[in-house]
């Protein structure tokens, strides 16, 4: 069943009773590859300050000064094998490139991997989560 209040029949260009008595139009049901329905989505990236202008603190302010271990956990300062926090939050576009394999500015390959692991684990409500989630946009 069609859900309520969807497009009424009027105004549809190809309504059958257009008097095309003799020549009937072919309706290509199978031919459409790209899909016959495109939905308009909010163009968030169009807002003035583009989303990539956001930043991600590692770790967030409530745990500043803590170290980050190789798998991205926040651990006590000086923990063996863990890395000191980077001096400044990372810019959105730097993180986007790092997620695609590049290296975060001012990091070594190992500390870079640790910081990216921390960013991947960000939970909602933690500083930087929204910036990180928006870097996954646009989806699909």
């Amino acid at each position: 069943m069609m859900s309520d209040e969807t497009p009424p029949r009027d105004g549809t260009p190809s309504s059958p009773d257009k008097g095309a008595a003799t020549r009937r139009r072919v309706l290509a049901l199978g031919a459409v590859s790209a899909g016959a329905v495109v939905s308009i989505r909010p163009a968030l990236a169009q807002t003035a300050g583009s989303v990539l202008n956001c930043e991600i603190p590692v770790p967030d302010i409530t745990r500043s000064g803590q170290y980050i271990d190789a798998s991205g956990n926040v651990v006590a300062p000086g923990t063996k094998g863990a890395f000191p926090p980077p001096g400044r939050p990372f810019k959105g576009e730097d993180v986007k490139r790092a997620l695609a394999g590049a290296q975060l500015p001012g990091t070594t390959p190992d500390s870079n991997r640790a910081y990216v692991a921390y960013i991947r684990r960000l939970q909602r409500g933690q500083g930087g989560f929204t910036c990180f989630a928006s870097l996954q946009m646009p989806r699909g």
């Binding site: 909010p42 163009a43 807002t47 003035a48 202008n53 939050p89 910036c131």
Partner: protein, 284 residues
């Protein structure tokens, strides 16, 4: 807040607060000829990132009624850009009385030319060049379409010119007032140009849109008529609040597309673009 200023640009009143004096003085100077709002629609705040960052390595967090979380702070020297981004964000996320299009607008014989395109397509520079040729400047960042009437309302904010756009504007606009030169901002080198007196005086005069342009700088000169379908899709992606407006947005956009011819214009330089516009502009 310690320092504050209210100003009206077109139909929108803003209240801007700052932890520092300098940004408010710069704004007050550049927006001196602008009216004060009876009641501001939106609030923008330029706050120290941390209490001590007012003095030590000052850094400014831009916020307001509507904000994008985790926004990166800006250096104090770029206060003018911060205030501009703050005001844009309030309109982009908060405005409902108008359909907002990322487009510049100029007016001639009572009708508007809208120029839509991503940043870098040259919509600000073109608007400035046309204003220097006698068109009335309406806005360089947002075109406001009133859903009930279809009229385009002016939003003559300071024009933010990037890199070589600054010299182009200075050449054709010798008497213009400029804001400070802002280096290595997120948008490169920027300088703000104050719109001329006629543009500010006419900020409450809406006009009927007559032509919609999709300019693209840098390619060989070419003009192509843009079919309604393509124009519709491009404008839904060039609008910050099309989806939020719901039915009113759909009605406003389809009416605009139905009533206004659209062209894609590639231009290698300003002179060519102006000639192309003159050729496309309908006789009064």
């Amino acid at each position: 807040m310690r320092h504050a200023l209210s100003l009206r640009i077109g139909p929108f009143g803003f209240r801007i607060g700052s932890d520092w004096r300098a940004p408010i003085e710069t704004l007050a100077d550049l927006y001196a000829d602008y009216p004060r709002p009876e009641l501001p629609d939106y609030t923008v705040r330029l706050e120290a990132l941390r209490p001590w960052r007012r003095w030590i390595r000052p850094a400014m967090a831009v916020s307001g009624d509507y904000m994008l979380p985790d926004a990166a702070p800006l250096p104090l020297a770029q206060a003018l850009l911060a205030a501009e981004m703050g005001m844009n964000l309030q309109l982009a996320l908060g405005a409902r009385r108008f359909l907002l299009l990322h487009a510049s607008a100029v007016e001639r014989d009572g009708r508007a030319l809208l120029m839509s395109g991503e940043s870098g397509a040259g919509k600000s520079t073109l608007a400035t060049l046309l204003a220097a040729r006698g068109w009335r400047f309406m806005g360089d960042e947002f075109a406001l379409i009133e859903p009930e009437t279809g009229l385009a309302w002016p939003l003559p904010r300071l024009i933010s010119l990037k890199n070589d756009g600054v010299s182009a504007a200075a050449r054709v606009w010798p008497g213009a007032r400029f804001g400070p030169l802002l280096h290595d901002t997120p948008k490169g080198t920027i300088r703000h140009l104050v719109p001329d007196a006629t543009a500010i005086a006419a900020m409450d005069e809406p006009v009927q849109p007559a032509v919609l342009l999709f300019p693209r700088f840098g390619a060989a000169a070419a003009v192509r008529a843009v079919p309604p379908g393509e124009a519709f899709v491009r404008l839904t992606q060039a609008s910050t609040n099309y989806v939020a407006l719901g039915e009113a947005g759909f009605a406003a956009l389809t009416a605009l597309i139905r009533g206004v011819p659209a062209y894609a214009v590639d231009y290698p330089d300003g002179e060519t673009a102006i000639a192309q516009v003159e050729a496309l502009w309908p006789e009064p």
